[in-house]
């Protein structure tokens, strides 16, 4: 959402604009807050980390001669006498998408300087994230009680456990840190730090609602990673 008009002159759109921005001997990402550019760069590096995990999972699953456990049965739940495949994972996906939607709206209301709405939506996002982590803890304990370990499992190829705990564990850690920051930012929003331009703890930067967008980028990224994990690990 970079502002097309900065520093008094109009910026060109498209690839021509990109060439001008890049060759301007000035800030390359024009109209983009430095914190937002840095968050994007961080997310890019994080993309590579998750890609490496998923690619190693593909390599491990592809090269084993033992049958891979059927995720649809392993992650199924027994509800009211019926076996529902992937039920918990489906609910987790819907919870995460819900929280992603509330975050997108929080960013919107933040830019409109609607403090209350923004704060409540961040809080709703945090609670969604907390629910997700709780369900993941339930899923882990269920699998561990069934005998799944990083080195063995009763369903098939032993590599299954190590990839499962590594990938979902790393993603769950991201969600956990996101939830912590969501609670902090909800507090800061309700306190009005972004309206007054109050400085943060470790920065000289004045508080601004752009911080909500930066936090939102991180949260949407966590959702984005889950889209890929859901497709490759649970559905494939």
């Amino acid at each position: 959402m970079s502002d097309p008009k900065i520093e008094g002159f109009e910026l060109k759109p498209g690839f021509k604009g990109m060439a001008k921005d890049t060759g301007s001997d000035q800030t390359m990402f024009k109209g983009v807050h430095w914190g937002k550019a840095m968050m994007w760069i961080f997310l890019l590096s994080d993309t590579f980390i998750f890609s490496c995990f998923l690619i190693s999972y593909m390599k491990g699953r592809g090269s084993t001669l033992i049958d891979w456990p059927n995720p649809s049965e392993v992650f199924g739940l027994h509800v009211g006498g019926v076996d529902v495949p992937l039920l918990l994972i489906a609910i987790m996906t819907f919870v995460l998408i819900t929280s992603s939607g509330t975050m997108a709206l929080a960013v919107k209301y933040g830019y409109e300087k609607n403090r209350k709405m923004c704060g409540w939506l961040i809080l709703a996002t945090a609670i969604g994230g907390l629910t997700f982590v709780g369900m993941q803890a339930f899923e882990w304990s269920k699998l561990i009680s069934e005998g799944v370990r990083p080195w063995e499992n009763p369903f098939g190829a032993p590599q299954f456990g190590s990839f499962f705990f590594m990938i979902t564990g790393f993603h769950g850690t991201h969600v956990t840190f996101g939830v912590i920051f969501l609670f902090i930012y909800a507090y800061k929003t309700f306190k009005g730090h972004y309206d007054e331009g109050k400085r943060g703890w470790f920065t000289t930067m004045k508080g601004d609602y752009v911080e909500i967008e930066i936090l939102g980028l991180y949260w949407h990224f966590v959702d984005l990673v889950w889209v890929f994990i859901f497709a490759f690990f649970y559905l494939w």
């Binding site: 959402m1 990109m18 190693s56 592809g62 090269s63 997108a104 409109e112 959702d223």
Partner: protein
């Protein structure tokens, strides 16, 4: 008065677009769950999974993460490195096929 209104619309978007994308994400997730529910197999399953996955990822990045409205300088810096990941995937596909081949080969003829 109308001038200030126009200026506000450049930095924030109407709520409708977010609700639409939100709804679409729910529908697409439901569809990808249905792929498992009806137990589609083979190429149909994989192509459907990939189709819904890329659509969801694209919608999240374009609208929730605002990439659709960003300048090309940022968008291109973020998207071109993904080609490196695509290359890595192709390399590792060749690698696991080779591993499977050697395993099958030596399981049959026995290693000396």
């Amino acid at each position: 008065m109308s001038d200030t209104n126009e200026k506000e619309q450049t930095s924030t978007h109407k709520i409708g677009i977010y609700l639409w994308i939100w709804g679409l994400l729910f529908v697409l997730s439901f569809f990808s769950y249905m792929v498992d529910w009806y137990q589609f197999q083979g190429m149909l399953r994989w192509s459907l999974i990939l189709f819904f996955m890329f659509l969801k990822a694209g919608l999240i990045m374009a609208f929730f993460m605002h990439l659709y409205w960003e300048r090309y300088a940022l968008v291109n810096v973020l998207l071109w490195p993904m080609t490196a990941i695509a290359c890595f995937i192709f390399l590792m596909v060749a690698e696991f096929e080779y591993t499977v081949f050697t395993r099958l080969f030596y399981f049959v003829v026995g290693g000396q």
